[in-house]
Symmetry: C2
Subunit: 228 residues, 2 copies
Amino acid sequence: MRERLSGIGACVFDAYGTLLDVRSATGRLAAELGGKAELVGGLWRTKQLEYTWLLSLMGHRRDFWQVTRDALDHAFGVAGLDDDALKEKLMRRYLSLDAYPDVAPVLAELRSRGLTTAILSNGTPDMLASGVESAGIAGYLDAVLSVEEVGVYKPHRSVYQLACDRFGLDRGQICFVSSNGWDVAGAASFGFQTVWLNRFDAERERLPGTPALVLGGLADLSGSIDRG
Amino acid sequence: MRERLSGIGACVFDAYGTLLDVRSATGRLAAELGGKAELVGGLWRTKQLEYTWLLSLMGHRRDFWQVTRDALDHAFGVAGLDDDALKEKLMRRYLSLDAYPDVAPVLAELRSRGLTTAILSNGTPDMLASGVESAGIAGYLDAVLSVEEVGVYKPHRSVYQLACDRFGLDRGQICFVSSNGWDVAGAASFGFQTVWLNRFDAERERLPGTPALVLGGLADLSGSIDRG
C-alpha cells in the first residue's frame, strides 16, 4: 500500500456509491416503504450490479436505466410489495440522489490544482446529467463518461479505456476513485492508479488488482496525489 | 410457460445448487461456526458467484477452486472469523457436498429412456469428479463438462456451446436444468430449452431468457420431456 499517487493527470470517479449516495432514494421514501426500506434498498443495489455483470457476460445490451428498473422490480417482488406509484417515485429519486458532503470540496480542490476531474460510470448519459446537476457538482467536472458508448458494463477493460481515450493519458496517469471494491479491482487490474474509498469499513474483495491507496473519505484525496 | 419440452436429446444439469446442496458444507460444520453458519454460508456462495462474473468480465482466469477459497476468505473476514483449520475443513467439505435426494432417481429415469445426461458446471474437473463420486451419481452421468476448457464462467455463451459440441446436438435439442435463475437466463438466451428448478420459491430474475418450464423439484422432470 503506497501513501501517495504520483504523475497524475486526471482524477476519475465512479458515480453511484462513490459520489452519489445510492441508498438516499429508499432513505427519503422510508416512510412509504414501511419496514422494508432497508431490504428494498439493499436488494435494489445488489441486483442492479448483478444484472450489469450478467448482461455483459451474456453479450446483451440493456441500458442502466432499464437495469435499475429491473432490479427494483425484483426487489419489490422479494419484499412482497406491489405498488407501481411508489416504484415510479423511487425511480425518479434515483435521478436526484444526494451527493456525499465531501464530494464538492474535493472536486473544487483538485481543479484548483489544475487536475482534470471526471466521472466514469455505468449510468446512462441522461441519468448522469440529472445526477450531477441535482447534486450541484456539474460545474466541478471536466467530463462525465458513460459506459453507454462501449455497450458493456464495468469491470470490462473497454470501459476504463474510455478515460484514457478521452483525456489522451496513459493508464498510469489516471487516478481512479471508487467505493466499490470490485470496480477498484477492475481499474487497478487495467492499470489505473486506484483509490478505494472505503466509506463504511467494508471487507476487501479477493480479486486481482490491489488499490494503491485506501481512504475512509474524500477529504484526504487531494493531499495524496501529485500532479504529473 | 410451456408444459412440455419436446425434441430433446440430452438433459444437461448445473451442479452447484441444482444437484449438489452448496449449503451442506456450512450446515455440517454449523456447530464449529457457532452462530455464523448462516452468514458464512450465504456470503460464501454470493461472493463465489460474484467473483466468477467479475473475473470473466475482467478477462482474468482463476479456477473455481481458487475462487471458492477466495470467497470463503472474504466471508470469514466479514464474519470476523480467523480460523484456518476450519476454513480447510469447509473447503474439503465442498468436495463432498450432499446431493439432493431427488437427483439420483431422475438421472436413472432419464437414462432408462435413452436420454443423454450430463453436468455443465463452473467447477474444476477435479472438484466435479469428487462431487459426483461422493454423491453417488457418477454412474448416472454420460459426461461431466467443466468451464475450465473455455476459460470463462457462466453465463458466457461459449460455456453453453460446450454441450452442443460434446453431444453434436443443436441448441434446441438440449434441455438445461438449473436452480440458478441467472444460469437459466443465460442458457435460455443461448437457445437451450430450459427448466428453472426453483427449489426454494425464489423471486424470478429480471433478465433476458425465460425458462420453458419451472419446477419445484426434479421428480416431475422426466415426465415433462419428450425425446427427440
